[in-house]
Symmetry: C2
Subunit: 81 residues, 2 copies
């Protein structure tokens, strides 16, 4: 089973990386772009075949390693492989 994890900064948390991208896009001539936020996208393969167990497992991974839950949110999707 393949898990797809998005880790994004909570709204209100300053995103200097996003700001830098926004300014770079502006200076490349792309107008009308705002609110750029950059996050992480992680894909992983799980041996676990039970969906509920996989969900619980990946949530633990996010809490312990993949996301800093003080400033980041995470969301998890699954795809059958």
């Amino acid at each position: 089973m393949k898990a797809k994890i998005h880790v994004t900064l909570k709204s209100g948390v300053l995103d200097p990386q996003g700001k830098a991208v926004e300014q770079a896009l502006g200076s490349l001539g792309f107008a009308g772009v705002s609110g750029v936020r950059q996050g992480k996208y992680i894909e992983l393969d799980l041996d676990e075949t039970d969906r509920a167990k996989a969900q619980a497992n990946v949530e633990k991974m996010c809490e312990k390693l993949l996301a800093n839950t003080v400033i980041e949110n995470y969301s998890i999707d699954f795809a059958e492989t």
Copy 2:
């Protein structure tokens, strides 16, 4: 209009960041995890309201700045805000 962009390493390109995450998960006791790949996830707001023009515009942004198309793929989704 909100654009959601995924930038992922092409398959076959070594992903040391993903490997590091995989090893860290292993040493935290998560078994059965493999094929960890880490990419970028970018959200941005566009003033453009025409879907086709927005798509063309964001593709240009990806080619020019957001993705290194030699080693990375990108995919673009749109959401109405």
